[in-house]
């Protein structure tokens, strides 16, 4: 009996959300009186494995097969499944992500393990195994009782601090047998913004809405984001108008974020947008209309013209950093 954590990496750098998953898995392992094991696929350096250890893992299974550097859903499913069975784990933990969600769903059938997604806290082990998860796009929670002996938990981002344990991780190279069928879906190209802070992973997000009046005015959004070390996002109308790319669209049908601070500039706060941001720990709204519905969902608000406010706010932030 143990807890296995499936980590993801970006060009060899383990994702922050995956380190959160490792720490979640470690805390769960402690309450179960067992250890936290990690499976990593593709090229991950020893230094990165050290960080995985510090986040709480005592053992790593490294499947070095380079074909797994690409996020091919069925191939990752097969590899993680084989490690899970070998390790004797009965709980699999992973961070919610585009790839993680897809792999977890298939694993749930393959391993006959209940999958609970959008998990927001550690399970309640008092009676059975109960997990709190976010539902209705952040508008409510459900306490879910898991009925299977094997379990998979997909955790939401930013629900816990990454541990700083002094754990020394023992990494074992592990070979899996991957049949051709799992590579049926061929990735023919990737189009990715380089050098930007990833929106779903970001601790602070600055988003602009139609109140920015046009794509040519995004400079002041980017300046504020830079001062804050933030990723940039936008509302649906902005992405529909092609002012900004779709992968920046935050909301019900776009990216859902849960940063420590969400800054909304010139966004009125339609319910579809709020659904994508209501899990944020703090919300700062900048809008010239004091009646904008977003202020009702905000912790901090600035009533004023974004074109005047943003440069001043950026300066004030730079001054204390």
């Amino acid at each position: 009996m143990s807890v296995l954590i499936y980590i993801e990496h970006e060009e060899g750098v383990v994702k922050k959300s995956s380190l959160e998953a490792v720490s979640y898995g470690k805390s769960l392992a402690e309450s179960l009186g067992t250890e936290a094991l990690v499976v990593g696929l593709g090229s991950i350096s020893p230094d990165e494995w050290t960080l995985v250890g510090h986040a709480g893992a005592s053992k790593g299974y490294h499947v070095t097969d380079e074909r797994l550097n690409a996020g091919i859903i069925q191939a990752h499913t097969a590899a993680v499944s084989e490690v899970f069975e070998h390790s004797g784990a009965d709980v699999l933990v992973l961070a919610k992500s585009s790839l993680g969600d897809a792999v977890a769903a298939r694993l749930s059938v393959k391993l006959q393990a209940a999958l609970v997604s959008n998990v927001v806290s550690l399970p309640d082990l008092a009676e059975g195994f109960k997990v709190k998860r976010s539902i209705f796009t952040g508008k409510a929670f459900a306490i879910t009782a898991v009925q299977t002996s094997k379990k998979i938990l997909a955790i939401k981002k930013n629900i816990l601090e990454i541990r700083q344990d002094a754990t020394d991780i023992a990494v074992e190279e592990f070979t899996v047998s991957l049949v051709d069928r799992v590579f049926a879906a061929k990735i023919t190209g990737t189009d990715k913004a380089e050098g930007e802070i990833s929106l779903p992973e970001a601790d602070i997000v600055v988003s602009g809405g139609r109140g920015m009046k046009g794509p040519e005015n995004w400079g002041i959004i980017e300046d504020l984001a830079k001062a804050l070390g933030a990723a940039t996002g936008c509302s649906k109308p902005v992405s529909d108008l092609n002012w900004r790319p779709h992968h920046e669209h935050v909301g019900q049908t776009g990216i859902k974020v849960s940063p420590s601070l969400y800054v909304a500039v010139g966004i009125s706060g339609a319910i579809q947008h709020l659904a994508g941001v209501n899990a944020s720990k703090n919300i700062l709204v900048i809008n010239k209309d004091p009646e904008a519905p977003f202020f009702k969902a905000a912790d901090y608000g600035i009533v004023g013209d974004a074109f005047e406010v943003l440069p001043k706010l950026t300066e004030a932030i730079k001054a204390i950093k």
């Binding site: 970006e10 996020g71 859903i73 069925q74 585009s98 969600d101 792999v103 769903a105 298939r106 749930s108 393990a113 209940a114 999958l115 997604s117 959008n118 539902i135 209705f136 796009t137 952040g138 508008k139 409510a140 929670f141 459900a142 879910t144 009782a145 898991v146 009925q147 299977t148 049926a184 879906a185 061929k186 990735i187 190209g189 189009d191 913004a193 601790d203 804050l228 779709h246 992968h247 019900q252 420590s260 601070l261 319910i271 659904a275 720990k281 703090n282 700062l284 709204v285 202020f295 009702k296 969902a297 905000a298 901090y300 600035i302 013209d305 001043k312 706010l313 300066e315 932030i317 001054a319």
Partner: protein, 245 residues
Amino acid sequence: MKILVCITHVPDTTSRIQFTDNNTKFDKTGVQFVIGPYDDYALARAVELRDQTGGKLTVLNVGEAETDPTLRKALAIGADEAIRINAYPKDSYFVAQQIARVAQEGAYDLILMGRESSDYNGGMVHGMVGEMMGLPSISPVMRLDIEGNTAKLSREIEGGKEELEVSLPLVAGCQEPIAEWKIPNMRGIMSARSKPLTVKEADAYDVHASIVSYALPPAKGAVKLFDKDQMEELVKLLKNEANVL
């Protein structure tokens, strides 16, 4: 080409979410139910593909009789026939089993649905169906084109997208901008009345997880407002109160 689109029957996005019976039941009072917003994208693309390549478009829901109007709406949007598995959708695994059975029996080339339902947000049914049927599952899909027996897709990844090619049959979880939502026109609404809606009973009943109770997030405190000349005060609070700087 035979296309199966699986739709959910969910509260409209603007619904107020409340619970009854000591927080153990969702309160449907005054709630309007609609086709899941992501499923609506899948359906819209399926209608376009059916119109391009010919064939048949079947829409499927796992739910009780109350979901029939939602299925009729999908017929009005352009599906040729509807199937309802007459069962309360207990959990994702239960729903996936019903879909996999219908999909197997109907030998569909494409099995589409939304990337997730907008009520429980699990986003797992497409992957489960894929694994149950031994088919590739791709999600979240932003573009889907069919060339002969090959599907060409774009899938959203963190910070961008990736392009994929895979042979049919295939399961896909869809999202925008795969197609524009279609609004039923009068002809569609009229013809939907006479299109077949078949009700079948469930035949697999395994569940993996069940909801014990619900909770609402704590109420938000009042917003602290500032004007453009109070940036220092605001930044101080962001640093010392919110601890985000």
